[in-house]
Symmetry: C2
Subunit: 328 residues, 2 copies
């Protein structure tokens, strides 16, 4: 749940004076986004989302994210479009925070995606990758393979070790071994571009089984495109009991390939990329679970889920485990 910056009616009025939106008919804080405060705003012109950027977001990076959403929207991707003020700019300040207004997207996120949802996700991910090919913005991925060890080192060493062993005996050595393996084997020669990097089911909206929105681009960065797909395989294709549903991954990858066929070397790298993606979410969840501030509104996510996924991928062997084989 979001940490909220409370927005007063006068502050809102002053902020909106820079826009041309008609009269406000509703304004409610919503429980969406972890790093930002978000509000639904309805005016006589339509529905919007108002986002206030809290301190964890680096303000100098906001133009990268906002320009990307503008770029993707202009190409027909269903992502929030930053709404321009009368002077043409899209960033303002509200209650001491940088703030921006976005078009409202219909749809609801699904908690238990079906194979059809997974296919929609794969197709839209590929569409996003293609649409962003000529996006000029560059943002190095701060959570890539050579960053994971230092992320984990943000936690107290003894605490991290105890927390790992608490998952299963030998888990800490397993994680260390996997970190070393990923650092040495991480591919460098795969096609790169702009990735979403956090396309979990809660960041995708559906109307029935049709995808209607991609949201929350605040981890977007420049990295390997197939790594983005590997993140989605982790986030969408495991069942609640920890088992991997290859029907879903096959559907996701096949739909991705209808838009952007994978190179053979991308297919071959999938197990390693999926292992890396699992490690990326394991290390941040582990550190977050050890550093819960007193009175925090956000319940940390359990690192156990991603430790188990990491183990699955470590045993996967080849891309066939994901329902796809290299065609060379």
């Amino acid at each position: 749940m979001a940490v909220y910056t409370d927005v007063g009616d006068e502050a809102l009025e002053n902020f909106l004076a820079a826009y041309d939106l008609g009269e406000v008919t509703a304004f409610k804080g919503i429980a969406e986004g972890v790093e930002n405060s978000n509000y639904i705003l309805q005016t006589t012109r339509g529905g919007y989302i108002l986002t206030l950027y809290e301190k964890r977001v680096n303000a100098s990076e906001l133009p990268y994210f906002l320009d990307l959403m503008h770029h993707l929207s202009a190409k027909g991707l269903p992502c929030p479009l930053p709404v321009a003020r009368r002077d043409g700019t899209v960033l303002g300040t509200l209650e001491g925070r940088e703030a921006a207004l976005f078009t409202f997207l219909s749809g609801v996120s699904v908690r238990r995606p079906t194979a059809a949802h997974c296919a929609e996700c794969g197709r839209s991910l590929a569409q996003m990758h293609l649409a962003a090919i000529d996006y000029k913005g560059i943002r190095p991925n701060a959570l890539s393979a050579h960053d994971w060890r230092s992320v984990l080192a943000q936690g107290d060493k003894a605490q991290v070790m105890a927390a790992c062993e608490n998952l299963w005996s030998g888990c800490h050595a397993f994680v260390e071994e996997q970190l070393t393996l990923l650092e040495t084997q991480w591919p460098l020669d795969l096609p790169r571009g702009t990735i979403h990097a956090d396309l979990f089911p809660n960041n995708v909206l559906f109307l029935g089984e049709t995808l209607s929105g991609l949201i929350d681009f605040y981890f977007a960065s420049t990295d390997m495109l197939a790594y983005d797909l590997a993140i989605c395989l982790n986030a969408w294709c495991f069942e609640g009991d920890g088992s991997f549903n290859v029907t879903k991954s096959r559907a996701m990858i096949a739909a991705y390939e209808t838009v952007r066929p994978l190179l053979d070397r991308e297919v071959e790298a999938l197990p390693l990329l999926a292992r890396g993606a699992a490690m990326r979410f394991f290390v941040t969840r582990m550190v977050d679970s050890l550093n819960v501030p007193a009175g925090a509104l956000v319940k940390p996510l359990d690192p156990r889920e991603y430790a188990k996924k990491l183990r699955f991928h470590a045993l996967a062997g080849s891309s066939a485990a994901y329902g796809v084989e290299a065609r060379s």
Copy 2:
């Protein structure tokens, strides 16, 4: 901010199957209500608020509140209308909670009401009092004059005394003296009916300066009508610096009287009723501020504000302090 019960998409689907609402197009948890979890639901038929009743609400009292909203809505009051399911009932269960769906009301609450807003509030309060005259439901006010001492006694005695003295030296004796005075002088002969009992600015919606909604009826009860007005005088007519704005109270009372003229003995009782209303919010805020559970999402409101208001009313002398005089 509300405590949220997380609602899954399948649970929502099952819950909505009992209604005839078309397809869901949006569903977002909102930061509204303290006792309940609230969601905005949009469907192809329109906008709704979904409320899940958390444990602090006594489920056996829900029909009283829901029937009241239905009754007031039917008489044209702009309050949420419980939406009937196909079988005609209005209460369902969702994620283990009792839950109901309401029509969505446009409007925004104002943080700093003007005299015009105060007048709108007064007028609508009187309209609500008249509209509820033939409402059959009865619910004794559990927070009336003879309850305040026992509410305060829910706090540790030494803690309460220290917290009072922390407001100003002699405050604890002042509160004790006022409690005794209110218990002995509390009027028993004023017109009674259904009161909202919590009509603070955050529970009233406006479109510009026109009132568009009265919400949050979960303190509604059977009590003296003029006491409801006294609660509003406390909630709407003090400025941020603690001063009482008699222009606002005059506007509120005058507008109330255009709909339901006060009896002389109601006017005469206003200072005492206002004092009681201040005491009612002082005691609950005091106890809440001493009993903040670890990890609470709700920041307790400061009791100091209402201790000062209590002192203002204790010194008020006559109803002239509120901009109204008895006409006998």
